[in-house]
Symmetry: C2
Subunit: 491 residues, 2 copies
């Protein structure tokens, strides 16, 4: 390999590359990364994994019978992928179940609207409730409303999320879903209704958590909405029933409200805690040859919502990262560091798997020298970001150079990592993000439409090529990325 590379360096077309000589990663390492990319250009292992998971297990909401089938699936397939170790690590959490929902327009234009309960919504009275709707352009407007406006009413937030490659509008809009019920309840509203946090035009509403886990503070008086877990932790249902309309139904309701400002809805939904459940993070690894104690973690989450089959959220992430780690061993390569893939349990309802991992591995997090989660669909990766100390940025630049043939650009220095990595990030583990094109992600996110047919096998291959490249180079870089790194807060 060295001979070949030396020969290549004599060619004038490589002058630009020669001007910024790579000093951190050996030509051999980079050649091996290129070989991995070449081998993976036609390897559909990841697609077969996500096909198998979404077909044979299907939807796998946390705490369901399918949760257990998903864990068994991951254990079996991780073993088949040839990992050196496969372990199950318990993750305990409360189980919420949705029941039926019916939301319909009363008055002169009676019709039913397509809606879905938000995660952890409380129930309406069994017969439902009938109340006037008060519409707000966005959550700020709801927050600014007076209790006089909302007492006994249904609060409706009509803001529409915009489509962006990086999903950038999600952050601006999702608080309507996660805080709207609490705010509406504080003003005396009897229920919350929001336009789906989604960018499609299908009559398939988007679910997602209706309350932040931190939303109910320790010491809050017990009530019909709170549940105390066996470990003493307290969780709570939404303060009032909370649901999302599909975009076409939100359009419809907004039009009807213009015609009939005093419009009433009948609003009926069921949702409740049904107990606690122990699921598992499924952890597979290739043990490092010379620095086995230094660990790089990649992964995705194994659970899905109960509506789609969790192809893009997040079967793809599990499949991409597992296939990438496995490919390294399959190609006869052995990394210096340990490469670990985690299929996290129950991300959707509060990052329970991610938190459990950080707790269980607290003692070794100082030796976690990098982590990246794939949890933004199955679109092509277009950029690498990293959250590392400045002294380690040149290594990121060299890794990006190896990703460049995959059309992956160098990005920013403020990578936050995925949701399941938050515990690791807080412990100072260096974060990496391989950013996927998420233009269509929020068309499908948390809806029935999250199914296998939405995945482009070619894009999935590119993802695996990128992760394998990243893992191989970070897993063998002579330089160890500094841990216990506290990123500069974003201004």
């Amino acid at each position: 390999m060295r001979l070949l590379t030396a020969a290549l360096l004599c060619l004038p077309v490589l002058a630009a590359q020669a001007e910024t000589p790579s000093t951190l990663l050996s030509p051999e390492l980079k050649a091996q990364a290129a070989s991995l990319q070449a081998a993976l250009a036609t390897d559909d292992t990841a697609y077969h994994l996500v096909e198998s998971l979404t077909t044979e297990v299907g939807a796998r909401v946390a705490g369901s019978e399918a949760d257990a089938r998903a864990v068994a699936w991951a254990e079996k397939h991780f073993k088949q992928l040839g990992f050196d170790k496969v372990t199950l690590e318990p993750v305990r959490f409360p189980v919420w179940r949705r029941g039926d929902i019916r939301i319909s327009v009363l008055g002169d234009s009676p019709q039913s609207l397509h809606a879905i309960a938000l995660g952890w919504s409380k129930s309406t009275p069994e017969a439902g409730l009938s109340a006037e709707v008060v519409a707000f352009d966005d959550l700020d407007a709801l927050s600014a409303a007076s209790p006089e406006q909302l007492q006994g009413k249904i609060a409706y937030v009509s803001a529409r999320m915009e489509k962006r490659r990086n999903g950038g509008d999600y952050g601006r809009r999702v608080a309507a879903r996660s805080s709207g019920a609490e705010i509406a309840a504080s003003k005396g509203a009897v229920a919350l209704l929001i336009r789906s946090i989604g960018t499609d035009s299908d009559r398939l509403p988007h679910t997602g958590m209706g309350i932040w886990l931190g939303g109910i503070k320790p010491g809050t008086p017990a009530s019909d909405r709170a549940m105390v877990l066996s470990n003493g932790e307290r969780v709570a249902l939404t303060a009032v029933p909370a649901a999302a309309l599909s975009n076409p139904d939100a359009d419809q309701l907004s039009r009807l409200l213009k015609l009939q400002p005093k419009l009433k809805l009948h609003y009926q939904l069921a949702g409740q805690y049904v107990g606690e459940y122990t699921s598992h993070n499924v952890v597979g690894e290739i043990t490092g040859s010379t620095k086995p104690e230094e660990i790089i973690v990649v992964g995705g989450h194994l659970d899905s919502w109960d509506v789609g089959t969790g192809a893009i959220d997040d079967g793809a992430g599990v499949a991409i990262t597992a296939a990438a780690v496995a490919a390294i061993k399959k190609q006869g390569l052995r990394p210096a560091r340990t490469l670990r893939v985690v299929a996290f349990a129950n991300e959707e309802q509060g990052v329970w798997g991610g938190k459990a991992y950080a707790r269980a591995h607290a003692a070794e997090l100082a030796n976690h020298v990098g982590a990246a989660e794939s949890d933004f669909g199955a679109g092509r990766i277009y950029r690498i970001d990293a959250g590392v100390p400045a002294k380690d940025w040149p290594l990121v630049q060299e890794i990006q150079a190896a990703l460049d043939p995959l059309n992956i650009e160098l990005g920013g220095q403020d990578a936050g990592g995925g949701a399941d990595l938050s515990g690791m990030r807080d412990a100072g583990v260096p974060m990496f993000e391989l950013l996927q094109d998420g233009t269509d992600y929020f068309d499908l996110h948390h809806t029935d439409n999250d199914t296998l047919d939405k995945i482009d096998p070619a894009a999935l291959r590119q993802n695996v090529q990128a992760y394998a490249t990243f893992l191989w180079l970070l897993g063998n870089a002579p330089q160890r990325v500094q841990t216990n790194f506290v990123p500069t807060p974003t201004p």
Copy 2:
């Protein structure tokens, strides 16, 4: 106008036009058509109509309370549009209602599938049925199956419809929906399941009639599926319960069947006749000035399926044709012939409105000198076809020349007209078709997704321009198109 045209004819750039002088339609008529097009280029009357219908009435399945609201809506809006006459003509038909449906996979990969009952499906036993699935690539394969293969099984037809501008693949695929149950039953199957006759990838299955009205012959012994109407006509439910899976669910079932060839489903649906109902065709007209007895009919159907709000099927058709007729009067023009717009009742479940119109107007059909239905969505019109005697084709050519600025080409001589016109066609009424781009039509057809947001207001305006042009020219052409025309059968 004549002076202007004479002046224009002197210009050399118009030489081509001068070479094929228009002899049938006066320059004045054509100038008026051009003025109509200009005025309608910015006129959103049709959009406001379909917005109002789909918002205020919503879904309006035949025989529902919304059917009556739709008729009242049409009567009111036709009057507001300034028609000289608005009449309601009774249309009586049986009423079928769907109940709940649950289709789920049994065995090692338990999961529910998104399905919808086909129109006029009979019920399963109340607790549902559980049976093995036997898959067929298409209806021909099902037709060729032996009773041994199907006895006690669920017949599943997996053929996928292809996307075409003219919807051309619908004809090839729809028989699985309309005849599949009968064929499956004849071989001892206990239920029919088909892939939706649709071209999308949404988990919103497509409904549509599961039986042709002619499917049960007079003299067939009475059974639990037949109902005798008050006029003595006999109708029947499907021979076995019949449902359609969404495309992603059909993909899923096909994948599961490859893994588990003996796969069983639990299959439960409800559907029944709930009586008879009298709805109405709503007929509006501008009475002709000099030849009022000669009638040109346009229209669409007022009913929708029960799932979407019937924006493209067929609120758009009613709106386009009503707006086009109204625009002529609004522009201060008066046609020689009577222009009539019909909002037909209950097209979806057997063309009851179209047949009732042909019966009620049998005596004057010889004076119906042209008919066109808009029932293929809201896409731009790209072509005009006509079913007229050869001697009248030059008139069609001249009408097309006036449509050419709207990017509408001359088409074929075998226009069949829309479904609601079949009775008129059989009586020899000349048929016209303004063909719409239906590339996306079968993404939405008969699904929850048939909603207002799918309509492009600009495309709708082009439709109205085209219909107004067509109506004005045919309504004033000196030559009367020959009626009692028997088209040459398509080979």
